[in-house]
């Protein structure tokens, strides 16, 4: 078996290399990286005699994509990943996987199509890969491993979800009334039939009517559904979402004005299941934006209302699956409790992330976003959002403020509504530009953020008060040549009490779990970064991660203490990344 695998691999590389040399219609692209982690665990909470103090891990991998373009209308890519975990030798520990396969092209000169792996998104309320609050604001140190996690999971900057299926795009042009009508359609399979379950498909599309460069209106449709007949199952999930969008742009002197609206309805049902509810609701989201080109200032303000029963699988699936456990130090302490997910894990553990959209509402962790865990499409929220951004036209600084002032649409267990206030201020100073240090890059940036969840009430048991604070400080400074010093300090704190809704399999609230926490976690680290080229970097970093729950001592003997024992992990990392 190993011989066959190696033969295929060698043949693959030979074809790729020969092709590279012989013809530009076949070429190789991809990426490579080598990563080494050295973790040093420590705790003062107990005389932990069980957990390994030091762990080393790492891997080297290369993604080889063969691009075949037999003519100017077809492109085929097949990419394989060869990975050797740290310590692997002569095939032991080596894995050989197909990373992606797709065929795309143009049919009839106007119809674009793609088969196989596709990256797709529609709108905030239909189909979008939302980045959670914890990963929204990157730092110079934490972004390095996080980018690799995102690369592995096909989380793109354009917020698409990786799907396996087919997509077509085409546009029709008109002489009157509207300039163009754009059509985008896709279908994918998110679950294969088996174990008494049907194939689950996700299909949808959009139509955009471009009246002029100023006005666009359109409609979007997305539906997660069971394909009846692919198993003996008699219950069929259906979750269609229909939205309408309108966007108006206008430039008045040096001011760009934009007004945008998205509104729609959703329905989630389980046909054939008499006990299942039919959840129907609507939303609307209005935003106004003004950008002054000469000053670099832009302001966006909006209001939205998302109903409590609004369900949109493609928009509400979270990236992080909080029901999973981290791979590094999964169990720790003398009781070998499962260690809670931390931000350190989220920056480097791809196994915590979701690769496929799911129906209903996933479990979320109030520490990392209690206000909008499912993005803008989080159900049962209404309120205002504001974004202010000031980017110096000479690139010397960038400052910004964002805020969301939301409330429940309907109360949970009481008529009193919760208030969710989220906001952050951000500043980045490019000192080299401020002081004309032409040969050196010296950037410092920082963000302070907060999120408060509050509910008052006539009864004490109605009161909720949960506060999250986060801070991030970053430094990037050129030492000499292409060698840079990078440093980051990030802290995340949550304190207070909340009643977290427990939902049944139909995503209805059936109970509440009492959530009480007073914790903080922080990462402090620094490293050296050498850029061979724009796409090739070598980084050596050291960081110390600390996690502490102030309530741990008080709840040592309770179930609530599971996974909350304080600890530190010091980590050195060697990161080589390359794209070609």
């Amino acid at each position: 078996m190993k011989l066959i695998r190696n033969t295929i691999l060698i043949a693959y590389i030979l074809i790729a290399n020969l092709s590279w040399a012989q013809s530009k219609k076949i070429w190789v692209s991809g990426a490579a990286r080598a990563v080494m982690y050295g973790d040093d665990y420590n705790t003062n909470a107990e005389n932990d005699t069980t957990t390994a103090r030091k762990l080393q891990s790492g891997h080297a991998l290369v993604d080889l994509g063969v691009n075949i373009q037999p003519n100017d209308k077809i492109l085929i890519q097949g990419m394989v990943r060869i990975r050797n975990d740290y310590g692997g030798f002569w095939g032991s520990g080596v894995t050989f996987d197909v990373r992606q396969l797709y065929i795309k092209g143009i049919l009839g000169g106007f119809l674009k199509y793609q088969l196989g792996d596709i990256n797709y998104k529609l709108t905030d309320y239909t189909f979008k890969n939302n980045v959670g609050l914890i990963n929204k604001y990157g730092g110079v140190l934490t972004t390095v491993p996080l980018e690799q996690v995102q690369y592995d999971l096909f989380y793109m900057n354009d917020n698409t979800w990786r799907q396996q299926g087919a997509a077509i795009d085409f546009a029709l042009q008109f002489d009157e009334v509207i300039e163009e009508a754009e059509f985008n359609l896709f279908t994918s399979r998110v679950r294969a039939a088996g174990n008494g379950q049907d194939d689950r498909l996700y299909s949808g599309g959009s139509i955009t009517l471009v009246q002029s460069e100023r006005l666009k209106i359109g409609g979007n449709f997305a539906n997660l559904y069971d394909y009846a007949g692919t198993s003996n199952n008699t219950i069929y999930l259906k979750n269609p979402v229909y939205t309408g969008v309108a966007e108006y742009n206008r430039k008045v002197k040096n001011t760009h004005l934009m007004a945008a609206l998205e509104t729609g309805v959703s329905k989630l049902e389980w046909q054939g299941d008499e006990a299942a509810p039919v959840l129907k609701d609507y939303f609307y989201d209005v935003n106004l934006k003004a950008a002054w080109v000469k000053t670099g200032i832009s302001v966006t303000a909006g209001y939205r209302d998302v109903g409590p029963n609004f369900r949109s699988a493609g928009a509400q699936t979270m990236q992080v699956n909080y029901q999973r456990a981290p791979r590094a130090y999964q169990r720790y302490g003398n009781d070998q409790n499962v260690r809670a997910i931390t931000m350190m894990d989220m920056y480097r553990d791809a196994s915590l992330y979701q690769t496929q959209i799911v129906a209903g509402l996933m479990t979320y962790d109030p520490r990392y976003d209690n206000a909008t865990p499912y993005g803008r499409a989080t159900p049962n929220r209404k309120g205002f959002n504001v974004l202010f951004d000031y980017e110096d036209t000479d690139g010397r600084w960038n400052v910004g403020v964002d805020a969301e002032l939301l409330t429940d649409v309907v109360g949970q267990g009481t008529t009193t509504l919760k208030n969710y206030n989220t906001g952050s201020v951000f500043a980045e100073l490019r000192l080299n530009k401020l002081f004309n240090w032409e040969e050196r890059k010296v950037w410092i940036s920082g963000r302070y953020g907060m999120q408060d969840t509050k509910r008052s009430g006539e009864q004490a048991y109605e009161e909720i008060d949960l506060a999250t604070r986060f801070q991030d400080l970053n430094l990037t400074a050129t030492l000499f040549g292409d060698l840079e010093l990078i440093a980051q300090y990030r802290i995340w704190q949550t304190k207070g009490d909340e009643l977290v809704a427990e939902r049944n399999s139909y995503s209805e609230v059936i109970d509440y779990s009492e959530y009480s926490i007073d914790y903080n976690e922080s990462i402090l680290g620094a490293g050296l970064q050498y850029g061979f080229t724009e796409k090739t970097n070598l980084r050596f970093m050291w960081q110390t991660f600390a996690w502490e729950d102030q309530q741990f001592a008080a709840k040592t003997d309770s179930e609530a203490a599971v996974g909350s024992m304080p600890y530190n992990i010091n980590t050195w990392t060697l990161f080589f990344t390359m794209k070609f």
């Binding site: 108006y248 509104t263 267990g413 048991y461 509440y512």
Partner: protein
């Protein structure tokens, strides 16, 4: 600029139209007050009447109001018969709309008789153990009409025309037993003994002409139900009764039940579900062709103590005692 403003106004008009859409405004999930709120009784436990005539379709409505939703249970105990009715619910009030009405039916045999009844309420919540008993007993002036066609209730002994055959075993007791705790009325019938040489202890043959009610059964066996109350005594080793339904064409269908306990139980079966054992007339189940019923207590050569009462045919469902 004016055109732009018009378009913005259109966008906001659309938004306002959507805002005006209707949406259910009920709170999500269980009420917090039901989980975390303190328990208080806002209105005491009461009954709508102290005397009730169930025969004339009267009922008793129990009422009470609490500060939170709780699991409540009302117990009504017949002071003579020991009959018991249990009403339950999960709510913050009790009335006729949510299970607080009693129509004279029973939950645990025996059935209620013309007697005085004690009623009390219990509440079961996480932090609450509450109970309240009505000061006055509720007197039943007329028992409920159960409907159906009566084969026999043994209140006046064996019906004239019933024929009893008793094997010559030891301590054979085939007789009417008078007891105020009888599941219905004041008497039931005992079939006990120890027969070492045969499976059955004997039998009672009950010709249709000797049934208490003059019966004309529906031709559809799916809707005709046969019901009987039965129990066993402490000395019984076996716990089987066989009821044979012999039709005019000599087809014989059987209802065999076992699993008797020392508490009265109701056994009911649709005529169509009887097991045909002899197909002399073609084996069709024709309730209207019923000629006689034969009851056989089965000891299987072991001591047996069996009791039966209130054999009745009902239509469209089993008897509701």
């Amino acid at each position: 600029m004016i055109v732009m403003m018009k378009k913005i106004i259109i966008l906001f008009t659309i938004s306002l139209l959507i805002i005006s859409c209707e949406r259910k405004t009920e709170t999500l999930g269980p009420n917090l007050s039901d989980i975390y709120g303190g328990f208080q009784v806002f209105e005491d436990f009461e009954a709508s009447r102290n005397n009730v005539d169930f025969y004339n379709s009267e009922s008793v409505v129990f009422t009470c109001r609490f500060s939170k939703q709780v699991k409540w249970t009302i117990h009504v105990i017949g002071q003579t018969s020991g009959a018991k009715k249990v009403l339950t619910g999960f709510s913050n009030f009790i009335d006729e709309t949510n299970g607080g009405a009693w129509d004279g039916t029973t939950t645990m045999l025996p059935m209620f008789k013309n007697e005085a009844n004690l009623a009390y309420l219990t509440v079961d919540a996480i932090d609450t153990a509450y109970s309240d008993t009505l000061n006055n007993l509720i007197s039943i002036d007329g028992v409920r009409d159960n409907g159906g066609s009566l084969v026999s209730d043994f209140n006046n002994g064996l019906n004239p025309g019933f024929n009893v055959f008793v094997q010559s075993g030891a301590d054979m007791r085939f007789d009417t037993v008078t007891d105020p705790k009888s599941p219905e009325g004041t008497a039931f019938y005992e079939m006990s003994g120890d027969v070492a040489f045969a499976d059955d202890l004997g039998n009672i043959m009950m010709p249709k002409s000797a049934f208490t009610d003059s019966i004309s059964l529906n031709t559809n066996g799916e809707v005709v139900y046969f019901n009987v109350f039965a129990k066993k005594g402490p000395q019984a080793v076996s716990d089987i009764f066989v009821f044979q339904f012999i039709e005019e064409d000599n087809d014989i269908h059987e209802y065999v039940f076992q699993g008797l306990t020392e508490e009265w139980q109701q056994f009911s079966i649709a005529y169509a579900d009887l097991t045909t054992t002899i197909t002399a007339g073609g084996g069709f189940k024709n309730p209207d062709k019923l000629a006689q019923i034969v009851v056989l207590p089965i000891g299987i050569k072991l001591p047996f103590e069996g009791f039966i009462d209130y054999m009745v045919f009902t239509e469209n469902g089993p008897l509701i005692p």
